[in-house]
């Protein structure tokens, strides 16, 4: 009996270890030296001391800068080029420095970031989307005195600051709208809808032709956030330019006509079959395929959409078509574009290499690197980085932005539980459930409960 167990165990272990022996692929392991453990670099930086003004070659010990992000997926878009550019430029300044990219694609990144910050184990340079609250908590370095602050697009300054101090910068900004397949529209004689009802009418024609009107991937909740937010922020801004602050002060209602009209519009969209049947179970990457393959005629997305579609044509071998853009509008044809930072970058207040981090950040925010990062599908958050719009859809988007009023993104000043509550309600409706069960009351309750999480400008 003993023998049997021992032989079994040994056989298993041997088999498994021999499997481990082959296929040890080091090719994917880029940039940084993995062996430099955190405690080692802590010892070196202690000897470097804080804010020393002389950068570069002052010490010979190799050090590692960690940059964390959620969108720097390898092999996608301009990410590889961006990373390389950053590493090369940083090496020029600090020959002994190396960069470690901690990228965790998707929403899990934010979960992890919070836990890391709470336990003081976060990266030196942090990409995030909630600079004010992180700044408030003291996690970020005050960057008000940095040279690039004057280069920040004005609209972003408010969203990157807390209590008058700048804690981050937006490398790219976003504004959402409808991207559509020009060929399908032409074939079916549809013109870009100028009102909500025209959108529904277009949808009817598309459904008759067995084409999905709008492809959505609500498994990634942020897509719903921005799409629903489009209607909500439009209604809110029409009522009051400081709507969300008004709610905070009690002069506007969270469950008022603005929110309700947005929910109502979504109900109509769902009931009139404007969405793909798999709306709730597919995610953003899958909607890219639905759109680029011609299965769906429209998609509501950010400024990267045109470029992403081009990329998808090549990578999946679909027949290319020209992509157009038109903004979201309400039943009266009113358009207000929501604008906000997309990728914000900051420095960890507890970094062990403050000067190096500041220099690295300046590099990242320099016009050349912003251009590399944003590629053809981005809008820069820094004024001097002028990205030329090569694709027609981009030109159309920039045109609209120039000629329309703008507002902040929906929910910028609501606690997360409120947004989640409203979005869950919308999801329920899309999924065929019935609303009107006191959900909005619940949302209001959560608002009061989590009011302390709101950071007003």
């Amino acid at each position: 009996m003993k023998k049997l167990v021992l032989t079994l165990l040994t056989t298993c272990l041997v088999t498994v270890f021999s499997l481990a022996g082959c296929g040890n692929n080091e090719a994917g392991n880029s940039s940084a030296s993995p062996s430099a453990s955190p405690s080692a670099s802590a010892v070196e930086s202690a000897s470097q001391g804080a804010a020393s003004e002389s950068p570069s070659a002052s010490d010979d010990k190799p050090f590692k800068m960690r940059i964390s992000a959620w969108f720097l997926t390898e092999g996608e878009g301009t990410n590889d080029a961006f990373k390389k550019a950053v590493e090369d430029k940083f090496k020029e300044k600090y020959p002994n420095g190396s960069i470690q990219w901690d990228n965790l694609t998707g929403e899990k990144y934010f979960d992890k970031l919070k836990a890391e910050l709470a336990s003081s184990s976060a990266a030196d340079i942090i990409y995030s989307q909630q600079v004010p609250s992180l700044g408030k908590a003291g996690y970020l370095m005050d960057l008000s005195g940095e040279p690039w602050v004057s280069d920040m697009v004005d609209a972003t300054k408010i969203v990157e600051a807390y209590d008058g101090k700048i804690y981050g910068a937006a490398t790219t900004i976003q504004s959402f709208g409808f991207y559509y397949n020009k060929k399908i529209f032409a074939d079916l004689g549809i013109t870009p809808p100028k009102t909500f009802n025209e959108l529904l009418a277009a949808g009817e024609k598309l459904n008759a032709a067995k084409i999905t009107p709008i492809t959505v991937g609500f498994k990634d909740q942020w897509t719903l956030d921005y799409f629903f937010g489009g209607y909500a922020q439009l209604a809110q801004a029409l009522t009051s330019p400081t709507f969300e602050a008004d709610v905070f002060n009690g002069t506007q209602q969270l469950d008022g006509p603005e929110t309700i009209s947005a929910i109502d519009k979504f109900t109509q969209l769902a009931q009139k079959n404007m969405f793909n049947k798999s709306a709730l179970s597919i995610d953003w990457p899958q909607t890219q395929i639905e759109f680029a393959s011609g299965k769906a005629a429209m998609i509501y997305q950010g400024p990267w959409m045109a470029q992403v579609t081009e990329d998808t044509f090549t990578s999946k071998g679909f027949d290319p078509f020209e992509v157009g853009f038109f903004p979201l509008s309400d039943e009266n044809g009113k358009v207000i574009m929501g604008v906000g930072p997309d990728h914000s970058v900051s420095i960890n207040a507890k970094t062990e290499h403050p000067q190096e981090a500041k220099d690295l950040l300046s590099l990242i925010l320099s016009p050349e690197l912003i251009a590399v990062h944003a590629g053809d599908g981005g809008m820069s958050g820094m004024k001097s980085a002028n990205i030329e719009a090569k694709l027609p859809a981009m030109k159309e988007l920039l045109d609209v932005l120039k000629n329309s009023p703008t507002t902040y993104q929906w929910g910028s000043y609501y606690p997360p539980s409120v947004k989640t509550g409203i979005l869950n309600l919308v999801t329920k409706i899309i999924g065929g459930g019935k609303a009107g069960d006191g959900e909005l009351d619940e949302v209001k309750k959560n608002y009061e409960k989590d009011k302390s999480l709101i950071i007003l400008p």
């Binding site: 079994l8 296929g23 692929n25 955190p38 998707g106 836990a115 184990s121």
Partner: protein, 281 residues
């Protein structure tokens, strides 16, 4: 008296029917696993015709996966973590289980209840405190942390198994050993532990799959991709390239294959182990 060997033709017929029915059911149950393997060798464009049999075996997805993901590395990490946990767990739990079973002192009975109570604590509650703890112990982003966490989490179950199996060892052995001059440590490791090997075997075989397949631990506590386990890599891969189904399933297949092999080899033993734990627990 013939008893069970006398069975009517009718019974035999129904049994045969039942067997066939079960085989069909079994095949249906296995279908998702089959689907996973099949999808991993299908050409990308054939993927969207789910019921179609692959026109040929396409290894491209695997090539793709090996290029993008450090499969060998991930496998090694999984092995290290599983191995480390098992070793630590066996050592501490067997000693504890043996003591609890043998020593009548109330202290140990309370201890046992404490362990069992721990089984109820869900990980969500402790997530952030563990993060802070790991930081102060300088164990962030180490596989050691995972080993310790898994061990701690499995101590209740493991102790239970050892307590049960120790009951089957006659006390006379220990009495004889102490008369022969064996100290407690020697007595334990040279005499008792070898006799507890069935328990150890059971423990390994019932828990290793859990350790192998855990993904939340590495996802939360490991930040370096080259320390991540195989299963976590699937999750990360899916987040990064969620429309590359061929690749996703290739990775899934790679992660499942060793387990299937292990399972087939130790199947009988697992069943014995489960039951022994169940009955004596």
């Amino acid at each position: 008296m013939h008893s069970s060997s006398v069975r009517s033709l009718r019974e035999k017929f129904f049994d045969r029917l039942l067997e066939i029915g079960m085989i069909i059911l079994a095949l249906l149950v296995l279908y998702p696993c089959y689907y996973m393997f099949e999808a991993s060798v299908k050409l990308p464009k054939e993927f969207y015709e789910p019921l179609k049999f692959p026109s040929r075996i396409f290894w491209g997805n695997y090539d793709n996966v090996f290029e993008r993901v450090q499969v060998g590395r991930a496998l090694l990490n999984t092995l290290l973590i599983c191995g480390g946990t098992l070793v630590l767990l066996i050592i501490v739990a067997s000693m504890a289980g043996y003591t609890i079973s043998r020593n009548r002192h109330k202290l140990f009975q309370i201890l046992f209840v404490l362990f069992l109570a721990g089984m109820i604590i869900p990980f969500q509650t402790s997530m952030v405190p563990i993060y802070k703890l790991a930081q102060s112990l300088h164990l962030m982003n180490t596989r050691t942390l995972l080993v310790l966490l898994y061990t701690a989490g499995t101590i209740p179950f493991a102790t239970m198994i050892y307590v049960g199996f120790t009951k089957g060892i006659p006390r006379e052995l220990e009495e004889a050993a102490s008369i022969d001059g064996y100290g407690p440590l020697r007595m334990y490791w040279l005499i008792i532990f070898p006799l507890l090997l069935p328990a150890t075997g059971t423990l390994i075989v019932t828990t290793v799959f859990g350790f192998w397949n855990d993904f939340i631990g590495p996802l939360l506590y490991l930040t370096d991709k080259d320390k991540m386990t195989l299963i976590t890599q699937i999750f990360v891969f899916k987040s990064e390239r969620s429309s590359d189904w061929g690749g996703i399933f290739a990775l899934c297949s790679l992660a499942t294959l060793p387990l299937i092999l292990l399972f087939v080899v130790t199947q009988k033993y697992m069943i014995k182990g489960l039951t022994a734990g169940a009955i004596k627990g």
